[in-house]
Symmetry: C2
Subunit: 132 residues, 2 copies
């Protein structure tokens, strides 16, 4: 892909070129499938990502997730989640933000994500809080 054809004289001796923020192609609700969602959520790493995102209750940067895989692997997992429609991604400067698309999921697969997250949390609690 070509770089920028310097748009003539336009801008700008500004220190901040700013330009157009990098765009991420997030699929529309009509593009994802149950198969894709289940494949995405069948992986334990991706499930922890989603769980952390849900627990945080706000969008999270890629780097702030607590998971023990390499950066490149992490990128892969986020891509899978995004293409499945589970999360939405967008750039903020050099950071990439991740948002849980829980409303879209709920609309398309009612109850599924909620049940899944609830189950995930219950298993997590069982581990965190040992049998007494």
């Amino acid at each position: 892909m070509g770089v920028f054809p310097f748009a003539t004289s336009l801008e700008v001796t500004v220190a901040r070129p700013r330009a157009v923020p990098r765009r991420v192609e997030n699929p529309g609700p009509e593009e994802y499938s149950l198969q894709g969602v289940l494949e995405a959520l069948a992986d334990p790493v991706r499930r922890t990502l989603v769980a952390q995102l849900s627990r945080a209750d706000e969008d999270m940067r890629c780097g702030t997730f607590d998971v023990r895989v390499s950066a490149s692997t992490l990128t892969h997992h986020f891509t899978v989640l995004r293409e499945a429609g589970v999360i939405r991604q967008y750039y903020v400067g050099t950071s990439k933000m991740n948002a849980l698309r829980d409303a879209d999921m709920e609309a398309r697969f009612p109850g599924l994500l909620q049940a899944l997250l609830a189950a995930e949390e219950r298993e997590r609690d069982a581990v965190v809080a040992p049998a007494r």
Copy 2:
């Protein structure tokens, strides 16, 4: 669910000694995990099996499922579903019956199986009944 209660005293005076019916080891509810269930249901073939079982609303013999895989592959899929706790299997003569463990699933992962089956049915309907 369980069609026959197997009330022990059944012992018919059949000509055939009958012996002990072949036993199948079905895991207890404490043995299965969310991971196992999701892995099991992430496969499209297994999901159709479960969907057919749910739709039939009664236990089904292995051979009566409508799926285009070989017999040995089918055995494999049923094994995965059973070990995940999604179905229960038991022998009846030379046939093997399959029962959906929806109550156990509901107890352990509330709403999950139902949401999944509902989503599966909706996608199926969308295919069967084309866009008008």
